[in-house]
Symmetry: C2
Subunit: 192 residues, 2 copies
DNA sequence: GTCTATAGTTTGATAGAC
DNA sequence: GTCTATCAAACTATAGAC
């Protein structure tokens, strides 16, 4: 079971740097240190690997979001934590988060994996909507004119796009620049 | 020269739907109606094809942007036209624009193609910055608190992310929802 | 669970006829 | 310019020994 996790770790790294369609079992074999055939024992097809990757990523990431919102801080704090997760995943401009990588390769996946990808986005949007709903009452954000669901869609698109463009330029600065107007709307905004 | 354009058209379509790493010369051959070997006459390597694709796309898209800003309308009008270009490229949730597709596959390209991709983003950002600069004086946008370059980064990230997420869900509505807060800041905003 | 060996297919790319 | 024919390499996946 330890080998399986190691395989998932390396496969996730390859998917986030090269893209899911741009790495093979041979590449994965080299990174993990076992033979190609042994990978097929754990993940019979690459499609199985994709399903396991998005499932693990989704649980892990959403778990982090729920941990943030359980802390009972301001909505501004929650939004900042959300943006921080995407900045961390960017890894100084070298990687995408798995959901951005998988979104780009969406036509390569089967229905089960696509369903999990869509479920991840839906649950992210639901989490964000509750945060923006909270912002309406705790006063931790300024200029929240649109309804919470709409703000949620805009926030998700912003961080995913910021990550994509920043990785293309290999520049964390591009990410920070793109999210500045959002972070500036938080009333507990720190100087930058 | 007509065959070359036809090849570029089909290759662009494949890159924008499946991804650059997920189509082959065999796939392209079927769409265009000539044999694989004939494609190599026009584009000796797939790397040459990538370079031609991003060059043509960049000239075409930036040409459309300059045509918009030459019209001497409000900044609000320019931003709306910019968002419209990305909505059109989304094709009802079925395609990405080439720059989003290429950004995701960036590690598959050589230096020349990467330079053209980065140049496209830089020129887009420059165009957007002049638009947001104009917005400061013509009063066609509300709540423009950040400086023009920062607003440009946020706008680019928003439309690219909105397109990526909307295509993943095969839903134009996701795109429209994500860009609503931006469009609502335009003083000539239409009801929706 | 991991290995060697290999099947069967597809990949990007080339040679040479027309 | 397009074709047929072909290449070597890489691909996903399987069989069977250990």
């Amino acid at each position: 079971m330890d080998t399986k996790d190691h395989l998932l770790d390396c496969a996730e790294h390859l998917a986030r740097t090269r893209g899911f369609d741009a790495f093979s079992y041979a590449d994965l074999s080299k990174e993990v240190g076992i033979r190609k055939a042994s990978i097929h024992y754990h993940f019979p097809t690459k499609s199985d690997l994709a399903a396991s990757l998005i499932e693990r990523y989704s649980e892990r990431f959403l778990g982090q979001l729920y941990a943030v919102s359980e802390k009972d801080g301001t909505a501004g704090h929650d939004v900042r934590a959300y943006v921080d997760l995407y900045r961390q995943a960017l890894a100084k401009g070298t990687q995408l988060c798995l959901c951005v990588s998988f979104s780009a390769a969406r036509d390569s996946f089967d229905e089960a994996t696509l369903a999990r990808l869509n479920a991840f986005h839906d649950r992210s949007l639901a989490w964000l909507a509750t945060v923006f709903e909270k912002a309406k009452t705790d006063g931790s954000m300024t200029g929240t004119l649109s309804d919470p669901e709409t703000e949620a869609h805009a926030c998700l698109a912003l961080v995913e796009g910021a990550q994509l463009v920043a990785r293309a330029a290999r520049s964390e600065v591009h990410f920070n620049r793109a999210v500045t107007p959002l972070l500036d709307r938080l009333s507990d905004a720190r100087p930058h």
